[in-house]
């Protein structure tokens, strides 16, 4: 095997006595660049501030006698201390900027920095959502231009831009379906969801008042069309299907599924989490989809930010578009882009909206980034994105299927992610152990134990923004830990060994939840804040 590190460092350099090499404990708890950092509550004080603001002046008080006299308990730090605190914390995070982030279904691709710059332009970052529309036409044009390309790329009829994230978009789509059914006086109660679906799908359907039933899968890892057809009937409002699905496979029968659902009077919701695999190659609208959310933070690379904010516009078919929520943008023939809200929906003949999902117009900061992404890639680049994403995943699948069990490896090529299972791991060594060992190799682990249909599932999504050298090094690392798992290497059970923390006790966290800082010994006699305020 070639060295998995391009610098020439070779694995297996023998270190006989790990303890002797480990060095002494340090008095700070730090280990060179691995720096421990206390909580702001332990290093800040309520008197310190890193912002220069005027001392309160005497003047009128119209607070209705509700002045806050009790201590709030918010610690402050000076600016240099603040920068250092958060910089130290940042270094305890793994990130795309540090290396390949093969988290299946999450699409951790490079975040172009141009998009950050664009989002911060004052005309986008420093405008209020309720400004008179004549002062925000450019912002509305961004929303409308992005909406236009999302419709083009998906072959759909309309798009609801306001949903705040993928799951919010799912809810939007399902509510459109419900509104369309209610409009024709058709009370249906069931949404069908494959077992392999993201957890948000059944949660969304239940939240919208539907009963959730499973759609069985066939041995290929795809929806069992015949079983689905047999279940369809007058009680089925719709199906929620992920395509490409969470096993990393394209649902070949998508069009037949849509036709069958439509014939039975239902609607087709497509979870678009994996749209990045097919953008520019095939349009969901051509496969009969009625609604699909698009995770701008996946396909169009707006940053994940350590857990949001996301953005989940929902493209809609002609049948569902009339029910899309307010507000939205519309371009009239004179080229002017309008904001359609409760006050002017009738002028725009949009009187059947199911309502409003959020206070304002959606994730503007994500729209600017996504639009810059689409324009940067262009028609040729977006196709290349899908092709390279799929190529990279297949390269991983075929480079590792001799050492890791690939349950659907026989089903043909995968799409943008490669799925493996834990078959063949020795003894009690689990997927979790392998994942934690991958951390020691300098990688974020893949998605684990999802989809639920594969035992000990490992879902690997490299994305298109990895070089071949980066893929080869990752393959080398994963091969090595897989071999150790099969050989029963017990050191996997205690991995990671080199991360800022060893395995964390999640049971303890849940059994005795500590969810907020509490002062160990509340000092009496601290000056009350109103005294400090000196009003």
């Amino acid at each position: 095997m070639s060295a998995p590190n391009a610098s020439g460092w070779k694995p297996g350099t023998p270190v006989q006595d790990h303890n002797a090499m480990a060095g002494p404990d340090t008095v700070t708890g730090n280990r060179a660049l691995m720096l421990e950092e206390p909580l702001i509550f332990e290093i800040g004080t309520t008197e310190t501030t890193g912002v220069d603001l005027p001392e309160p002046q005497s003047g009128s008080n119209r607070l209705g006698g509700l002045d806050r006299s009790e201590k709030i308990g918010l610690p402050g730090l000076s600016e240099p201390e603040t920068i250092r605190h958060y910089t130290r914390l940042s270094r305890q995070n793994y990130a795309i900027d540090l290396g390949l982030f093969p988290l299946g279904s999450c699409t951790m691709k490079h975040n172009p920095r141009l998009n950050e710059k664009v989002a911060r332009m004052p005309g986008f970052a420093d405008v209020h959502p309720l400004q008179p529309v004549d002062t925000v036409r450019g912002a509305l044009e961004v929303v409308n231009e992005l909406a236009h390309w999302l419709i083009e790329l998906t072959g759909m009829h309309g798009v609801a831009m306001s949903p705040k994230a993928g799951a919010h978009g799912e809810l939007c789509g399902i509510l459109c379906i419900r509104a369309a059914l209610e409009a024709r006086g058709d009370a249906r109660e069931v949404i069908l969801v494959p077992e392999s679906a993201h957890g948000t799908n059944p949660a969304t359907a239940a939240f919208a008042g539907y009963r959730v039933e499973d759609i069985p899968a066939n041995a290929d890892g795809r929806v069992d069309l015949e079983a689905l057809k047999a279940r369809l009937g007058p009680d089925v409002a719709g199906v929620m299907i992920t395509n490409p699905n969470t096993c990393g496979l394209f649902e070949r029968d998508m069009k037949a599924i849509s036709d069958a659902v439509h014939e039975a009077g239902g609607f087709v919701y497509c979870d678009g989490a994996n749209f990045n695999a097919i953008v520019g190659k095939v349009r969901p609208g051509d496969l009969g989809v009625d609604a699909m959310h698009i995770n701008l933070h996946k396909t169009f690379s707006t940053p994940h930010g350590g857990g949001g904010p996301g953005s989940g516009p929902v493209v809609l078919s002609e049948a569902l578009s009339p029910y899309g929520p307010l507000p939205f943008t519309a371009r009239t023939k004179d080229g002017v882009v309008h904001l359609v809200e409760e006050g002017n929906a009738a002028e725009f003949e949009h009187t059947k909206a199911f309502g409003r999902m959020t206070a304002f117009h959606g994730q503007m900061g994500m729209f600017t980034r996504a639009l810059a992404y689409i324009l940067s890639h262009g028609a040729d680049g977006l196709r290349q994105v899908a092709e390279d994403a799929v190529l990279n995943a297949n390269y991983i699948l075929r480079s590792l299927e001799d050492v890791l069990h690939a349950p659907f490896g026989h089903s043909g090529p995968c799409m943008h992610e490669a799925l493996f299972g834990d078959k063949g791991f020795a003894g009690d060594i689990s997927t979790l152990d392998l994942a934690k060992a991958l951390i020691d190799e300098g990688y974020h682990p893949m998605t684990m134990y999802f989809p639920l249909v594969v035992h000990g599932a490992m879902l690997v999504e490299p994305t298109e923004t990895e070089s071949k050298a980066a893929l080869d090094q990752f393959i080398g690392a994963l091969r090595s830990v897989a071999e150790r798992a099969k050989a029963g290497d017990e050191s996997l059970k205690t991995a990671p060994h080199y991360a800022p923390r060893r395995r964390l006790d999640e049971t303890l966290a849940a059994r005795k939840p500590i969810l907020a800082w509490e002062e160990p010994n509340p000092p009496g006699g601290a000056p009350s804040m109103s005294e400090q305020g000196g009003r």
């Binding site: 005027p54 119209r62 603040t82 270094r91 957890g199 006050g343 309502g355 305020g533």
Partner: protein
């Protein structure tokens, strides 16, 4: 294409390894009749960084930025000064390009930050526990209503909304309630100096699961929440308090102190910026820790690692959709992580002393503005009490006045006609917000412009 590292030579080598003749062979499962054979219709080919930047800048320039106007908009989004360090920190790649901290050993940065954030929000709200954030204030508000419904175990169906709740928040609640069969009792806002608490209390009955009140309310008024909490609790209902301006809580008693059970709000004011409405930051907290397991959204908790070192993890996830699927407390699958970081950094820079000064500076300038505008002929100030936002009546359609003044780069406020298009009798109302970024010169500009247009 600058974002795609593979070379043609790489691609050929990889296809060979895979055993595929060309890349289309990998898309064999896509039905041929549905495959696009050429580039996407109408979309230009890839563009340079310079070209895209130019296009976006052109669109940006078509907008009037808040900093370039005399600016008085609020009503759920406020213009505050955000220290430069905040944007620097949230652009660190280790925060910006990290994922949800599901692998805690290599995500302690995000996790510790979230623990600190939760603690800051809990303190600010006077609550025991806050979650790791929601999409925004309006969705947090609906989630609170849904949570109160879960606590009532479906035995109580009614939700009493204050007429002075932000109308867009009320719309979100009503939209979602259509699908959950909750009964929404909503009133219209009363144009009075003080909110109609007696009317609100009279609408609470045995079937009420929750009462939703905004503080300060949409018209900027502040009111003692304790009597409302008492009345709600007497009927076995929970009091949900919505706050859209967290800076206010540097000057005003916290909702938790006055008996609110669930406190939710918009955190945008601290660290996040205006951004044309999003992304924003939903804050969500409960006063009583016994309600924690009913909460929606992510929670970060303290624990220990295998060596006994303190560390943090996402916890109590058995409430969440990825574990419970259709039985989850919410379908939410994210938080507003980077906005929470911005909030937390800004709040750390402020500290309690800074927050209190910031709040008093906002209030001082708002008082000056209210006094000055009251002197404009035809203008009257509605509020007895306010923090940094109050309502004036113009005696004429405020929406038209706002549009007129915008042409002179004066963004005068949010008209009630924009917010309540169905209530013609509110049309002369204008909500005026004043923050530390407002100068006395701006106030004078607004007052003279109003004098001119109302003359």
């Amino acid at each position: 294409m600058r974002y795609l590292p593979l070379t043609d030579a790489d691609r050929s080598e990889m296809l060979e390894k895979i055993g595929a003749s060309d890349v289309d062979a990998l898309f064999v499962d896509v039905p041929e009749e549905a495959r696009l054979d050429g580039p996407i219709h109408g979309l230009p080919m890839h563009a340079s960084e310079m070209a895209v930047e130019k296009h976006m800048r052109r669109l940006s320039k078509k907008n009037l930025a808040a900093a370039d106007a005399a600016f008085f908009l609020g009503a759920g989004a406020y213009k505050h000064h955000v220290p430069a360090s905040v944007d620097h920190i949230i652009q660190r790649g280790e925060f910006l390009t990290a994922y949800t901290p599901y692998q805690p050993e290599i995500a302690q940065g995000t996790l510790q930050m979230l623990f600190e954030f939760q603690s800051q929000v809990a303190h600010l709200y006077g609550c025991a526990v806050a979650n790791a954030s929601m999409y925004d204030g309006s969705t947090a508000c609906w989630e609170a209503v849904a949570m109160a419904g879960r606590i009532a175990r479906g035995k109580k169906r009614k939700v009493v909304l204050s007429g002075a709740l932000h109308p867009h928040y009320a719309e979100v609640v009503k939209t979602m309630a259509k699908f959950t069969d909750d009964e929404i009792a909503h009133a219209r806002p009363a144009m009075q100096a003080a909110p109609d608490n007696d009317g609100l209390i009279a609408r609470i009955d045995e079937d009420t699961a929750s009462v939703v009140v905004q503080y300060p309310d949409i018209l900027g008024r502040v009111t003692d929440l304790a009597p409302i909490a008492e009345a709600a609790h007497a009927k076995g209902a929970l009091l949900i308090v919505v706050n859209t301006e967290p800076v206010a809580l540097g000057a005003l008693k916290s909702p938790g102190e006055m008996g609110a059970d669930i406190v939710v709000g918009e955190g945008q004011s601290i660290g996040v910026g205006l951004q044309f409405g999003g992304p924003y930051l939903g804050l969500f907290a409960v006063r009583d820790p016994k309600h924690v397991r009913m909460m929606p959204g992510r929670l970060c908790g303290e624990t220990q690692d295998a060596e006994g070192k303190r560390g943090y993890v996402l916890t109590l996830s058995t409430r969440e959709q990825h574990i419970r699927r259709e039985k989850a407390t919410s379908n939410i699958c994210t938080n507003s992580g980077l906005c929470a970081l911005a909030f937390s950094v800004h709040m750390t820079l402020l500290g309690e002393a800074g927050l209190r000064r910031l709040a008093m500076e906002n209030h001082r300038l708002a008082c000056i503005a209210a006094d000055r505008l009251a002197k404009v002929p035809g203008v009257s100030v509605l509020n007895d009490s306010f923090f940094n936002e109050f309502t004036i009546r113009l005696g004429t359609d405020a929406r038209a006045v706002v549009r007129k003044l915008a042409k002179q780069d004066v963004l005068a406020g949010v008209s009630l006609g924009r917010l309540f298009p169905d209530h013609a009798d509110l049309a002369d109302g204008l909500i005026v917000a004043v923050t530390e970024t407002t100068t006395e010169e701006d106030i004078e500009t607004l007052a003279s412009a109003l004098e001119e247009v109302l003359a």
